[in-house]
Subunit: 449 residues, 2 copies
């Protein structure tokens, strides 16, 4: 095979496409810890070139050898001395075309691009398979945490019962500061943007889509299911207020943005939603930019994996582990653990209809302060067989809309109910004259053991 | 190779030696989740036989096929249709001879036997290498947590800066109950024995040796160092009293039995010792029989792995993951990640002399209630340049020895000091007339971020 590294020298040529934050981290790690990788795996990854449109910005790698930078990605990845292609451009445009070009040449591709995987995974897995090569994507979920390897290899003997993941560092950083400093969302977001913890265009993170991309990757590995994003209902963190955080706390919970995958009677129940977790649960203790994933297997029981979910170095650690795996697979002449989703379960499971996902919920209504308003709201819930577990009537907050000075926020927690029934009840409540805008706040509750 | 599984059928014959708790769990998992393993890896593990001296006890596996049980381990493992040998006998007698026999036949061995690895690891790794085969031992540390795979493969690009592990479920169970129920060690141990959470002969667990065995395995993988147990100072949990737990709590700490491996200026600093951890640290939140390991890498930063550290099913999950890896390695004709310690670092690091390990400490002295006694103790510490950070003088506890009705327990925390200096200071204090027996209690403090 033309792409095999020479077995005498046991070197393996690597091309890095994209010299941004993570690309620079990968280059730095290959330069500084290349000896370690060679000692541990028996193959030395050798950097053949780095492609980026911007070849002038200083990436602060003082010992970067001269002559590695190019703007011509297609030519670099096609070089015969390049055996492994690392895609760190991001997005689904140029990145996708380069990944396809590399796979078509039979070269393994390492990527951190969850958006690409979530949107074009099945096509890329098929393309890799057709060309007898592989796609490696440990860095796409959980940053430096080796969660995909744990799921695919470490827990190979387990049917995966459930996965609960804090998968977006930006969201977790914002929620942590909102709680610790009792600040509203917009204030913390602005500060996070200034500090570099949130993008100038933060929507992908805070509206939950990035978490959904990662949930789709996890679903593929755990359940063998091709996971179209449309199957995963997504709710971000914009609607979380300090009042919600405080109400949750008084009930013994902390709010986290959670990706949830669970094997249910109708298939995989998948969702991304702000979720109330018991304060003493390990996931509730994950603060700041850290990520964590709890995986439950039918044999092993509960396991949990924790670490930095993003950033130059953490992501580089995962990319370089994949480079090592790809190099070993090239040496062996065959991939050890097939990366195709079809290989990850006996029979791929279908997704359950989101309407039928049953869970407990936290709801907050801002009601007009008139007699009977809560009774009418409660009746709407009862109409759809949704029982209440607790009710907190809060004081009118300082930031009450001036148009509605007399509003009272009421927070309730419900008994388990299907999402569809809750939709209907909330629509009914929305049609009563009792509700003050903004619309009803609705989060999930998971009483994890 | 005679031990290769047939590549047409892609089946792989497995012999299980030892049909105790874990052996039964492995057999059950292979029977029930064999299809899943076959789908995920492309190789089906097929149980060829189970060897145990006791072939009559009911292991509660209703669908166990007839004819698998034998008392003749050597004959079973030598069968040509046995490709992988699983050693679950434990100990270093018969188990070692059978492991050696299998390796000498060029057959890969999967084991959960940390005692065997800690005591004879280097010889067994060498024997495996000489016979072009491998030893797999994921189940030897952390039960079902895929911690060794994470360390060896997932963090392959990292120099390991430190490892902090809660590695013994029995100890953690006892400490959790001592704290939650404010009970003395002996009472909880007796209850744990009745409930099956502690052995009738509990010394291996509660005196820290089991944790030291696991620390030795981790040190080998992380630092490439052959790890003779004599290099690892070990202190168990017998001396922890409810008073210590309470004093630690009032200082903001919880006491855990911790294996600590750290890269220091003089080499690997290794120890097993009761350790005070900040109450809000993730490791402090690990309760009951669970294990957790925090691994710090120079690229990835802090990562943490959590799960059941023992038991039939959790351990079986790890053993079966190793069976899958061994089967894939057989198919590939070569092991993917060499298991020999020499392969896990550029240059194996030496162990630092235990005397030079510098840490903060918690000390408790039971002093005669006479003026000046604490001043004399403090002077002994100052003589060896050991500064104090905090002092708690407790009330005389109810269980004070009747011979010393007037004793006062005093707990202090020290500034960082080398263990050797502390030894000398404590010896000096022991020679003063101020100390009441029992001897000085001495734990470590780690202010982990």
């Amino acid at each position: 095979m033309s792409t095999s590294p020479s077995s005498s020298s046991r070197e393996c040529g690597v091309a890095v496409l994209g010299f941004g934050t993570v690309g620079a981290g990968v280059v730095e790690t290959l330069l500084h810890n290349g000896d370690l990788l060679a000692a541990r795996t028996g193959v030395r990854p050798v950097l053949r070139g780095i492609a980026d449109l911007d070849t002038t910005t200083d990436r602060h790698i003082p010992d970067l050898p001269a002559g590695l930078l190019t703007t011509d990605s297609p030519a670099l990845l096609a070089r015969p001395d390049v055996h492994i292609v690392v895609e760190l451009i991001g997005g689904t445009g140029i990145a996708r075309r380069l990944v396809e070009q590399a796979l078509a040449l039979g070269k393994p591709v390492v990527t951190a691009n969850k958006k690409l995987l979530a949107e074009a995974g099945p096509e890329l897995y098929a393309l890799a398979e057709a060309n007898h090569t592989q796609l490696y994507f440990e860095a796409s979920v959980g940053g430096g945490i080796p969660i995909l390897k744990a799921l695919r290899e470490g827990l190979a003997a387990n049917h995966i019962t459930s996965i609960y993941g804090i998968l977006n560092g930006t969201c977790n950083y914002i929620l942590t500061r909102m709680e610790q400093e009792a600040l509203p969302f917009a204030t913390v977001l602005a500060s996070a943007q200034q500090l570099g913890y949130a993008e100038a265009e933060p929507s992908l993170d805070i509206d939950g889509l990035d978490t959904a991309h990662k949930a789709a990757v996890l679903a593929t590995l755990a359940y063998g299911a091709p996971a179209p994003l449309a199957q995963i209902p997504v709710q971000g963190i914009r609607d979380i207020s300090p009042l919600d955080i405080q109400s949750a706390r008084s009930l013994g919970y902390r709010i986290k943005l959670l990706a949830i995958l669970r094997k249910g009677p109708r298939g995989i129940e998948a969702s991304v939603q702000p979720t109330l977790l018991p304060l003493d649960h390990t996931l509730a203790a994950v603060s700041g930019v850290f990520n964590a994933v709890q995986v439950e297997g039918d044999v092993v029981g509960t396991t949990l994996y924790y670490g930095r979910g993003a950033g130059r170095a953490a992501t580089a650690s995962a990319v370089c582990a994949d480079i090592a795996d790809a190099a070993l697979d090239l040496l062996a002449g065959a991939p050890r653990h097939p990366r195709s989703p079809a290989a990850s379960a006996e029979t791929p499971l279908p997704f359950a209809p989101p309407d039928l996902i049953t869970a407990r919920h936290y709801l907050r209504f801002n009601l007009h302060d008139v007699p009977g308003s809560f009774a009418r709201v409660a009746a709407c819930l009862a109409n759809h067989d949704i029982g209440l577990e607790s009710i907190i009537q809060n004081e009118t907050p300082d930031d009450a809309p001036s148009a509605a000075p007399g509003y009272v926020p009421v927070s309730v927690t419900t008994q388990p109910a299907p999402a569809g029934a809750l939709d209907l009840a909330l629509a009914e409540i929305g049609a009563t004259p009792d509700l003050v805008q903004p619309p009803i706040t609705r989060f999930r509750i998971e009483a994890l053991a």
